[in-house]
Every structure is written in structure tokens, then in C-alpha cells.
């Protein structure tokens, strides 16, 4: 990869990606960028030849994704499209100040489908950074745009993009609760479950096909597993007492859950179909909010020491270790995808704030300036953290880069949005 670009990106320190956001009229969620990196890389996405025949330009989606990541500044190249096959006009691009640019062609490929071809160039070195061709139906322009943005993001930063991922969250409007799934940019929101009773704690299966969550539709908390593509769901935990806080094992076969069937809230695991319940840990206090790491730990919240703090146990069994030590209220732990850091909510004075803990250096960093943060979860590339907070008395979602610089807010016109969970990379 272009050393200049690499250097540039390392210099910005705002490596992040992601994007909640924006856009379409149909989207219920709207995004606002509330903080961006300081040295954003200038990038141009030329209009693709032939894309005006689509319902909406693929390149609009690509530009919006890259812009929202907080890492890139979009450079305008004017209305004339640049095709994937023509020799690129490097001089024109350089004169506009772009360090990298993409060109492309959209052409009918038969049966009402289109082939989208694009190439990415380093404008300074005047070399190709690669390209792709994909075939799509006209209404798939958003998905195609996200994939192109992911390709560009990865080529320019060296890390996977998360523009093609989805998020889950709960929308509360009056007394109605909806578990919704939307694209990572907030568009294309769909309701997976509607209820008059609360829904909390959605958790994505590692393959992204199912959600586990807690629904109160039976007047008590019960854990369900729900297949998104079919709407089929099954009870994963409905023991006497409360059943809550589901967390998937990395292999997607088991769920850690919190049950009160034997007394206080304690950690157990069950198969996704509800069979095979086993105790995971025991204490004389509350143990809750388990989260499986990819490196063999289960992180959780426990007040066994008097105040709620973060602990961890080996997933295969063993003694608990205390992980958080500062302050008297540290809850909702979520390990990063690489297992090297942990995000959680800490109470500082009367403020509840998303906090990052580097598990090697033991350094902590408060990532937000808000006061009612809840339910943090990492993007699958580890660069952004999605969480719930409150603005003007209303529940909104927000995302912050793991270095605290890039900030976005995702809200709806009316109603509260809460309990977000960032889904995994799609498996193609």
C-alpha cells in the first residue's frame, strides 16, 4: 500500500470507521456527525459511468459511508462520470487535491441486472490499488455501495471496513417496543419483533443470522433466540425466576445467560435451543452481563466485592479475576474483537460514561462526554463503539471511535432508541 497514505493514516490517529447514518427518506434513523478526525484524507469518488439508470447512484452511498467514518474528506470531481476502463485523468484528480480516487462503470448484464465495476487509484503515485466487479439487481445499490466503501476503506487503512454490517436496537414509541435491525448507516430499518412489553439485551449470533434477547411478553424476563430471515424463534431460557443477559459463545453453539432459578442472579450457559444448562460461575452476590471474548474469557459484572465491578473467568472454568478497580460502579463489559481491550460503563460522579480499558497497560480512557451511557458494543473491526445515551431526555444511539475522536449520533424523529448491538461482518 502507498506509504504516503499509510503514514497519513497513522498520523491521524483517528482510525475508525463506521458509520451510522444518514440518508434516505425511508430511513427512520438519522445520523449526525458530532466529531471527526482532524487530518482527514482527501479522497474523490468519481460518478460512475451509467449509474444514473439506477434508483439512486451507488457512488452517493460510497461517499456517504467514507465521509461518516471520520477518516476521509470527500473531494468533488464534478458531474462528468469516469469509467472503469478509460485511462484515469490523474492530472485532473491531483489538481483537486485528492490523494486517492475511484472510478467505475455500471452496465446492464442481462435479466434486469447490472454489473458494477470499479477501480481505486493512488493519485500521487499514479498506480492502481485494485478494483472489483459485481453483479446486482437495481435495488441493491446500497449493498453494492457499502461493499465498494469497505474495499476502499480496507485498501486505504489496512483494516476491514464495517459499512456492510448491521445493527440491532430497541425502539420504544409510547408503550410499543420494537426490536429493529438496520444497516450500519441507519438505513433500511426493519422490525424483527413488536411487543407491548419491554425487550432488552439483543445479542447477535456470530454468523449474524440470529439474535438472542430478553422479552418481557410473559410478564417476566425470558431469553429467546430468533432467526431473522424466517421469524422463527425459540425459548432459550425460561426457568422459574428471571432469565436474562444472553451472550453467544464464539462458536455460536451456546449462550451464557443469567438465571435466578437457584437464588440470586448467577451465570449459566445453555445450548441455543435451551438444553444442556450448566453453571458457569458462582458467587454470593449478583453476577450478570456476561460477554464471551475471542481469547477464552467470559467477562461479567459482579457485586461480590460490595460494589458492581468487572470480573472475568476462563470460559472453560476456573477462578474469577477482578478486572476493574477504579470507582464504585463499573458495569456492562464488552471485550474488543482482538481481546486486547475492554469497553464498559463507569460511573464518574453522577455520570455514566463509556470507558475503554487497555487490558495490557491497564490504562483507562473515558470515551464520551455524556452522562447516561449504556450498553456499549464494538464494531467487528474494533474501531468504533456503539452505545445508547440520552439527549434532551430522549434515548439515542451514539458511536465513538476507540480513540475517542470520531463521534456520531443516531436518533429517530420521535421515540426512544436504546439497547444497541453491533452485528458481525456479513458472511458472503
Amino acid at each position: 500500500m502507498n506509504p504516503r497514505i499509510l503514514t497519513f493514516l497513522r498520523g491521524t490517529a483517528t482510525a475508525c470507521a463506521l458509520a451510522l447514518a444518514s440518508s434516505l427518506a425511508q430511513a427512520q434513523l438519522s445520523i449526525e456527525i458530532t466529531g471527526a478526525g482532524t487530518n482527514r484524507m482527501p479522497v474523490a469518488i468519481a460518478s460512475f459511468e451509467g449509474e444514473q439508470t439506477l434508483p439512486r447512484a451507488v457512488t452517493d452511498v460510497v461517499r456517504a459511508d467514507l465521509e461518516r467514518s471520520g477518516l476521509f474528506k470527500m473531494v468533488e470531481l464534478g458531474p462528468s462520470p469516469m469509467g472503469a476502463d478509460a485511462p484515469p485523468d490523474f492530472g485532473r484528480v491531483r489538481s483537486r487535491g485528492a490523494d486517492a480516487f475511484a472510478v467505475g462503470t455500471v452496465a446492464p448484464s442481462g435479466s434486469g441486472r447490472y454489473q458494477v465495476q470499479f477501480r481505486l487509484f493512488d493519485a500521487a503515485k499514479q498506480v492502481s490499488l485494485g478494483g472489483q466487479a459485481m453483479v446486482m439487481a437495481p435495488n441493491q445499490y446500497r449493498t453494492t455501495g457499502h461493499r465498494i466503501a469497505d474495499f476502499i476503506y480496507e485498501k486505504l487503512t489496512g483494516e476491514p471496513g464495517v459499512f456492510s454490517t448491521r445493527i440491532a436496537y430497541v425502539l420504544k414509541s409510547g408503550q410499543r417496543y420494537e426490536l429493529q435491525i438496520a444497516d450500519a448507516d441507519g438505513s433500511n430499518a426493519q422490525t424483527a419483533l413488536a411487543s407491548k412489553e419491554p425487550i432488552i439485551s439483543p445479542a447477535w449470533s456470530p454468523d449474524g443470522s440470529r439474535l438472542a434477547y430478553v422479552s418481557f411478553e410473559a410478564k417476566k424476563p425470558v431469553v429467546y433466540v430468533h432467526s431473522l430471515a424466517t421469524g422463527q424463534r425459540n425459548v432459550a431460557a425460561n426457568f422459574k425466576g428471571s432469565n436474562s443477559a444472553p451472550a453467544w459463545s464464539p462458536d455460536g453453539r451456546r449462550l451464557a445467560v443469567v438465571l435466578t432459578k437457584d437464588g440470586q442472579s448467577q451465570l449459566y450457559s445453555v445450548n441455543a435451543d435451551g438444553s444442556g444448562v450448566q453453571r458457569l460461575a458462582s458467587s454470593s452476590g449478583i453476577d450478570t452481563e456476561p460477554a464471551w471474548s475471542t481469547d477464552g474469557w467470559i467477562y461479567f459484572t459482579s457485586d461480590r466485592g460490595g460494589s458492581p465491578q468487572i470480573y472475568r473467568v476462563p470460559a472453560g472454568g476456573g477462578d474469577a479475576q477482578r478486572v476493574s478497580f477504579e470507582g464504585s460502579y463499573n458495569v456492562s463489559p464488552r471485550p474488543s474483537p482482538d481481546g486486547k481491550s475492554l469497553v464498559y460503563v463507569a460511573r464518574n460522579g453522577g455520570r455514566f460514561q463509556v470507558t475503554l480499558l487497555d487490558l495490557n497497560s491497564r490504562q483507562t480512557q473515558i470515551l464520551t462526554d455524556s452522562a447516561k451511557d449504556e450498553s456499549p458494543s464494538f464494531a467487528p473491526n474494533g474501531r468504533m463503539v456503539l452505545y445508547a445515551t440520552e439527549v434532551g431526555g430522549r434515548g439515542v444511539l451514539a458511536a465513538v471511535s476507540s480513540d475517542g475522536r470520531v463521534k456520531q449520533r443516531l436518533s429517530v424523529q420521535s421515540g426512544d432508541v436504546r439497547e444497541p448491538a453491533w452485528g458481525p461482518q456479513p458472511r458472503n
Partner: protein, 185 residues
């Protein structure tokens, strides 16, 4: 613990009617599987399709009018707790005793006790704290002779506030245990 002394110091009681359940899988209640028409997913983008499910069920009615009679203490179903406390206050002693008496004289009746918390902090941790309140009510009832099989204590955490302002008056109303009888949940 000082349950007897406490006896009712705070708490919210929820009543319960627990339902409960024929244990199917290892003590689980009804691990039902709902088959919904699937709108299937073909490939690519279409596999992102999400099929909506409606979870709204139906409520029931109690066969015992005294439970609904505003002049009867049994119509009172809530026990309030102090901040960060899981002990039933003395002022709720007669209420809990009345419900214990009703349950012991109607052994087929079940009660669901729902514990609640105020809104501050983690939803799941609050769910666990609410459980401590419903457990306190359940314990008080069993100490008064109610069979454990008639009782189920659960938590609604901060999810079902009776009052939604961010004020101490409201928060205290939400630190509550509610008692529901069979047919009410």
C-alpha cells in the same frame, strides 16, 4: 438475615402468579418453537430480510373479587423500598400478612412477584437488583407459611416504571415490588 425483623420494611411486592410450568427441558417452561411463514432469503442482499413477529399476548381475569375490591387490603399490591435497599419496611407488614393469609387459604392460587428499580444505571444490573426486591417479598411470604410452589419471584428491573420523571419522588415510586395473582399475568 433479618427477615423477620425486617419484615416488611420495604419492598415492593409483586404478586405472583407464577405460572410455571411444566418443566420441559430441564426445568424450563415451555420451550415452544414458533414457526412463522418464512420469507426466505435467497441470496446476497435478500438474506438480510427480516420477518416481523408480534409478541402481544392476551391477559386474563382473576376469579377472586376480593383481590380487586378497593376496600380490601388484598387489592393493594405494591411494596416500596428505600434507595439501595432490599428490605421490606415495617409499614408493609400488614399488607404482606394479608396476602400470605390469602395464599395459604387458597393453595391452588399462584402469585408472580415482580421486582422493580429506578432507572439509573445498567439495565441488566438493575434487573438483578429488582430480583433482590422480589426475592425479599417471596421470602417474607414463605416465612408466613406460603408454599414456595405458589410463588415465583422475577424482576422487571427498570423496564416498567410506574412513574417516568427523573426525580427522587418518581424514583422512589419505582423501587417497588408488585404482586400479581393467577390470571393477572
Amino acid at each position: 438475615m433479618k427477615y423477620t425483623r425486617i419484615t416488611l420494611s420495604l419492598i415492593t411486592v409483586g404478586l405472583l402468579a407464577a405460572c410455571s410450568s411444566s418443566p420441559s427441558t430441564e426445568g424450563q417452561s415451555g420451550a415452544t418453537v414458533e414457526d412463522r411463514p418464512s420469507g426466505a432469503a435467497s441470496s446476497g442482499v435478500d438474506s438480510n430480510r427480516v420477518v416481523p413477529v408480534d409478541a402481544n399476548g392476551a391477559g386474563g381475569k382473576s376469579a377472586y373479587p376480593e383481590l380487586k375490591d378497593p376496600k380490601n387490603i388484598l387489592s393493594k399490591r405494591s411494596v416500596l423500598f428505600d434507595y439501595d435497599s432490599y428490605v421490606i419496611k415495617d409499614e408493609y407488614r400488614s399488607l404482606v400478612e394479608a396476602h400470605a393469609k390469602f395464599l395459604t387459604s387458597h393453595p391452588s392460587v399462584k402469585m408472580l412477584i415482580q421486582g422493580n428499580t429506578d432507572e439509573r444505571g445498567s439495565r441488566e444490573y438493575n434487573l438483578a437488583l429488582g430480583q433482590k426486591r422480589s426475592d425479599a417479598v417471596k421470602k417474607a411470604l414463605t416465612l408466613l407459611g406460603v408454599s414456595e410452589s405458589q410463588l415465583e419471584s422475577v424482576s422487571l428491573g427498570e423496564e416498567k416504571p410506574s412513574c417516568s420523571d427523573a426525580s427522587e419522588a418518581c424514583w422512589s415510586a419505582n423501587r417497588r415490588g408488585d404482586m400479581l395473582y393467577s390470571g393477572e399475568f
